[in-house]
Subunit: 319 residues, 2 copies
DNA sequence: CTGTATTAATAGTAATTAACTATCATCACG
DNA sequence: CGTGATGATAGTTAATTACTATTAATACAG
C-alpha cells in the first residue's frame, strides 16, 4: 500500500470515473487502472465496481478504505503544515544555559533584545556551572549555552561574544582606594573573596593570580561556597575583603557606590572570553545566530564585542 | 512523502540508531539515510539530530511527524484488517430483491437455509415488481434479485433456480371441481381473478390464456389492483371466482383446503422460470452462489429444480 | 441491427525511484 | 595516535511507476 494508491482511490471515488480521476491526478488513465488493481490485489478486496458502460461505484469495503484514506491524508497534510511552521529557525522554544556569573548581568539586556528580534522563540533558561551545562548540551537537554571557558568539545561549535576584563572591587574605606590602579602585588597581599569551586570565574581569578592559591597555608583567599558574585559584592561593601569582578558585574547603584570602589589593574588586566556554544548538529543555526546578535546588541558597558569574523572554532587542539 | 519514508522515521525514532533501524526494516543502512534525508528535504525540516559518535535524537518537529506517522499506520493497519474481514464473500450484508409473487413462498425456506450456510451475511430483503427491482439492481441499490422473467439486461447475469408450473384454484363448490383436470377451454369460460398490472405473474397468465384478455369487452378476467396472491386465494376461497396460481403458492392449511380445490391442467401446464440475477460486475460471486444453493435447497414442493449446468446467460439475444 | 463513441483493461516500453555494495568522514575510546 | 563504530556519499542495479498504443466491452444513434 502506498500513499499514491490511496490518493488514486480517493480520486476515483470522488469522480466515479477512471478517466476524470486520472486527469485530477495529472496521470494517464491506465496508471489508475493498474494502481487500483494492485491495491485491490494486495488487500484481497474489490474496491470499485466497474459497471461496463455506466459509472464506477464503490463497494462497501471500498467505502471503508476511503474513510481511512481521507483521515490519512488529513494527517499527511498536518505533517506538512507543521513542518512548514517549524521551518522557521526562529519559531519554537530555545533552551539556553548560562553560567551563574554571566546570567544576572547579560540576561537583562539579552531578553528584551530577543523578544524584539525573535518573538516566536521563547527562551527556556537555565543557570548552572560550565561543567553541567556542557554535559547537558552534549546530551541535547539544552540547545545552546553561554560560558566563559574555551569550548573544546568535539561535536560542539562556539563563537566568541565579548571579552570581559576584570576589575578590583574594594571597600570604600580600604587603604588601596587611595591608588588610581592596583598592581598584582598589591592584590596578592589582600584577603580575596572568591566563589566556591565549580565556578569557572574562581578558576580564572586564581589562574591570573597564582599567589592567591595559598589558602590552606595561612590563606590570603577566602572561598565562599554556594555564593554568587552578588553575595561577594555585598561582603566587599561590608568591608570583609577585596575581590575581582568581571566588568559586567560592576554596574551598581549609587548607594552601593558609596560603600565600594572600583579600581583598574595597573598591569595588563586579566579578562575572560564569553562565548556561545551549541551542538555542531543542532538544526537551527539561525536561532543561535539570533542569540549571538542579541548578546552583541545588549548594553554591557565595558566589554569588547567580538566581530563575527573572530570565530572560535571548537574542538581546536586536533586539526 | 511516502509510507515507506514514514515507516523509516518510526524505526529510526524507535531505535535511535540508523543501523539497527535498517535491520528492523530489512534494508541496508544507506537506504534509511537517503530516505530520511529526502523526507527532511521535502518537509524543509530536520527530523533527527545525528550526533557524531553518540546516538540519534529526534527534533521537536520530528516528534510531531512521529506522532502523525504512528496514527497513519494505525489507519493503514485498520484498512488491512478490515480488508481481511471483507475478503470473505459470505461476510457483510447482501441486499436481495424478490418479486411479490415469489417472496412469501420462497423466503420461509430460503432464510433458514442462508442462516445456516452464510451466518455472517444478513439478508436485506426488498419485495417489489420486476421492473423496479431490475432498475435498482442496475443502479447498485440492491445486489441481487429473484424474479420470474428472462433477464436480458446487458450488464446483468442470471441463473435459473427452478421451474414453477401453474395450477388452477377453484372454490370448493365450483362445478369444475368435478373434473380431474382443467382444459384451457374450461378455464377461459370462467371469471378469472388476476393480480394488478405490474405483476409479472399477471402477464404470464394472460400470455398463457390469451382469451382471458377480453376484460374491457364483457370481461372474463377480473383484475385486482394492489393485491397479492394471498388476497386472490382468499377471494377464491370465498367463491368470487377461479384463478391460476404458481405451485409454490398452493401449499395451504387444512382449513383452506376445505374451501378451495386445486386442479392440474389437462394440456401442457403453463409454468414460469424463476431465476436469480446480479450485476456482471458484482464482486461477491460466492454470495450469489450461496443464495442460489439455498434456494435450491429450500423445500418448495412442486417445482423442478434447475441444475447449475442449465445456465441462463443474460443479455442473450446478441452473441 | 450495424457502426460509432465511450470507458476501462492490457501490453510493451521508458522514466523514475528505491535499494544495494563499497567507500568515506567523523568521532569516541583505549 | 590507531581502532572500531556510525552515518553520509557515490555509483550501480533492481524494482516500480507511468506513459503510449491498443483492445474489449458496452451504450447509443441511425
Amino acid at each position: 500500500m502506498t500513499l499514491t494508491e490511496l490518493k488514486y482511490v480517493l480520486a476515483v471515488a470522488r469522480e466515479r470515473h477512471f478517466g476524470r480521476a486520472a486527469e485530477c491526478c495529472f496521470v494517464a488513465q491506465p496508471t489508475l487502472s493498474v494502481a487500483i488493481r494492485k491495491l485491490e490485489e494486495e488487500l484481497g478486496v474489490v474496491l470499485f465496481e466497474r459497471g461496463g458502460g455506466g459509472d464506477v461505484s464503490i463497494t462497501p469495503p471500498g467505502e471503508r478504505v476511503l474513510e481511512a484514506a481521507a483521515r490519512i491524508f488529513e494527517l499527511v497534510d498536518g505533517i506538512k503544515d507543521q513542518a512548514a511552521a517549524s521551518r522557521d529557525d526562529l519559531a519554537g522554544p530555545l533552551r539556553l544555559g548560562v553560567i551563574y556569573t554571566i546570567a544576572p548581568y547579560l540576561l537583562p539586556g539579552l531578553i528584551p533584545e530577543m523578544n524584539r528580534s525573535a518573538p516566536q522563540m521563547p527562551l527556556l533558561l537555565e543557570e548552572n556551572y560550565t561543567r553541567v551545562l556542557t554535559e547537558k548540551l552534549r546530551k541535547g537537554e539544552i540547545d545552546a549555552m553561554i560560558v566563559a571557558t574555551p569550548v573544546e568539545d568535539p561535536g560542539l561549535l562556539a563563537l566568541a561574544l565579548y571579552d570581559e576584563p576584570f576589575q578590583v572591587a574594594l571597600p570604600a574605606a580600604h587603604p588601596l582606594c587611595k591608588k588610581k590602579s592596583i598592581s598584582n602585588a598589591d592584590l596578592e597581599a589582600e584577603t580575596m573573596l572568591l566563589l566556591g569551586t565549580g565556578h569557572c570565574f574562581r578558576d580564572q581569578v586564581l589562574q591570573a593570580f597564582p599567589a592567591l592559591n595559598r589558602t590552606a597555608s595561612g590563606g590570603l583567599a577566602k572561598t565562599l561556597e554556594g555564593s554568587s558574585l552578588e553575595t561577594i559584592r555585598y561582603m566587599v561593601a561590608s568591608g570583609v575583603g577585596v575581590t575581582v569582578l568581571p566588568c559586567t558585574a560592576t554596574r551598581w547603584s549609587k548607594a552601593d557606590a558609596a560603600l565600594m570602589v572600583l579600581r583598574p589593574f595597573r598591569e595588563a588586566p586579566p579578562s575572560r572570553l564569553v562565548s556561545i556554544a551549541w551542538r555542531k548538529s543542532y538544526p537551527r543555526p539561525r536561532a543561535i545566530e539570533a542569540v549571538r546578535q542579541a548578546a552583541l546588541a545588549a548594553d554591557l558597558g565595558c566589554v569588547k564585542k567580538r566581530l563575527p569574523a573572530l570565530v572560535q572554532r571548537a574542538g581546536g587542539t586536533r586539526k
